[in-house]
Symmetry: C2
Subunit: 342 residues, 2 copies
Amino acid sequence: MITMRKILAIDAGGTSTRAVVLDLSGRCLGYGRAGSGNPTAAGIEGAVAELGRAAQRAVTTAASTTDHGSFALIALAGTVSPPLLRQLSARFAELGFDGQPIVEPDLLGTYYSGTFAQQGYALIAGTGAVAGRITGGRLGLARGGTGWLLGDAGSGFWIGHQVVRAVVASLDGLGPDTVLTQLVLDSLDIEAQDGGIRGRPHALVKLMEETYALRPVDLARFAPLAFAAPEDPIAHAIVTSAAAALADLLAATRAPDIVGPVVLGGSVLAAGLRVAPSIFAEPLKRAGGGVELIAVPDGVVGAAVLGLRHAGVDIDGEIFSRIRDGVARLHTEASQEEPAVG
Amino acid sequence: MITMRKILAIDAGGTSTRAVVLDLSGRCLGYGRAGSGNPTAAGIEGAVAELGRAAQRAVTTAASTTDHGSFALIALAGTVSPPLLRQLSARFAELGFDGQPIVEPDLLGTYYSGTFAQQGYALIAGTGAVAGRITGGRLGLARGGTGWLLGDAGSGFWIGHQVVRAVVASLDGLGPDTVLTQLVLDSLDIEAQDGGIRGRPHALVKLMEETYALRPVDLARFAPLAFAAPEDPIAHAIVTSAAAALADLLAATRAPDIVGPVVLGGSVLAAGLRVAPSIFAEPLKRAGGGVELIAVPDGVVGAAVLGLRHAGVDIDGEIFSRIRDGVARLHTEASQEEPAVG
């Protein structure tokens, strides 16, 4: 089934966005990356700009090999407002993709980046944490994803928040010493000084000023420090608690009669499986029912799979491999040509 | 030492403000209350308006009995910006109190509302949580008070946050059932409905909308629900953890050679000692070194004590009792005349 119709598939993340242009045979024609395309993280204007930038890059690299576009599909966390959809429609029409873009949950983008099976499970732990059960090719059930204030235990925000709270408690004489203190203060260019302000150590007052000036979700920037100090008991406890919380989140999506692959996405799971495999892999494998865990770098392959399915294409192993290998090839080429964005 | 000079003493809290006008013998001449006088909670404009309103009321009731004013003293959490001080100076000058108001930590206002001893300890748990060691009549050491994002375990925010997170976890299938769910949903007029939105229960989606629309510190409004459900294991665990965290905070201020009274203030400690004395009183008494705990309703008596001390008056038991009894009498009269404000 070879046709010249082409699809624009986008994975819009909280820190970066990836777009691919492909035809209905799964052949990847163009690829582009940009910054955050998530309206919650970047605002509507920012999200439209970055989604448009990634799409423009993908269309530009694809230009010589195709004739006309078909439609766009975006995999995204959260919901999409009508104003955002209107602005995206206008932007994508300029690039040759008419009509309102189709929006799918980020969980499906992640899931179909790792498998073409019609049932299974996906777990994402980036800035937030969310898990889902996929049945009949749809998202049947979602757990988590309730955000930094209300949930998301084990997420990047949660880990970064625990890191900073542990450092504050230590500086405030309420918690034990931890090497995280030096790591956090260094990351903010705060120097330890003698003396205090209103009965508090100087470094604590500075740390309070710096962190309250951030948006709360930006505390996720401190999450990598927990993985950077494996010998520290506090850091170890934070990482272990995060892995347990994420395993609980995945387990809460399980149904005994739904057996399928478990696909893992997001920066926390990537770091956990790479740096602390003994802490992350076993609880997650147990929570997933013992099947093999498939870690994916992002959700753009899944966005492409979802796009083809919306166009009526049955995805088999051959097409799935073609998409996955094509995206990997274009990603490598793009990384050699342009600076990475996330 | 009787003189007609009079002092304006104000206790500026996060939800309400109290002002008293008194002479240098400790005789209380006027009293007034208003809304939040804390600039962090109310903004500079709002804080000036409410501090001015409380002061105006106190001056009005005092008017017939005194001739001219001296200075103003405010007990307040956090720091005070130069613009706020300028605006307050102008406002208080209109009321006959010239010069820049003196600002003292809320911990000292609370402490001297319960005792006139020159050394001891104070613990406040309202929206936030902070503890201090008082030596030589000054705040020698402060612990906690690092705010909702970084610390304040056991505070009203912390309890309310735990309550809402427990409800979200329960609605999301990640935590056990709790009667807190119905209490929280009722308090927000959210009705349980069948069906869901994007794989989530309707009530959970509504709760997320309502709570993310609040300022984070406003989650303190859910704290009373934890005290309202003593039989619920989740509520009981939250209240018990709060009491333990507050006891740890108090204990962290202790020095073996500094023996003195322990004064407790703030809505969480008031609720804890009244509704859950078995949970709160013992850990706090132990943390305080076994001395008697003195609970105070607010910090206005202490603000008056600090004001007299700034005027060079030695506070003895007679003057302290006169201030305390005078404030109590005027407070009762004001409560009969005007609606309570907090």
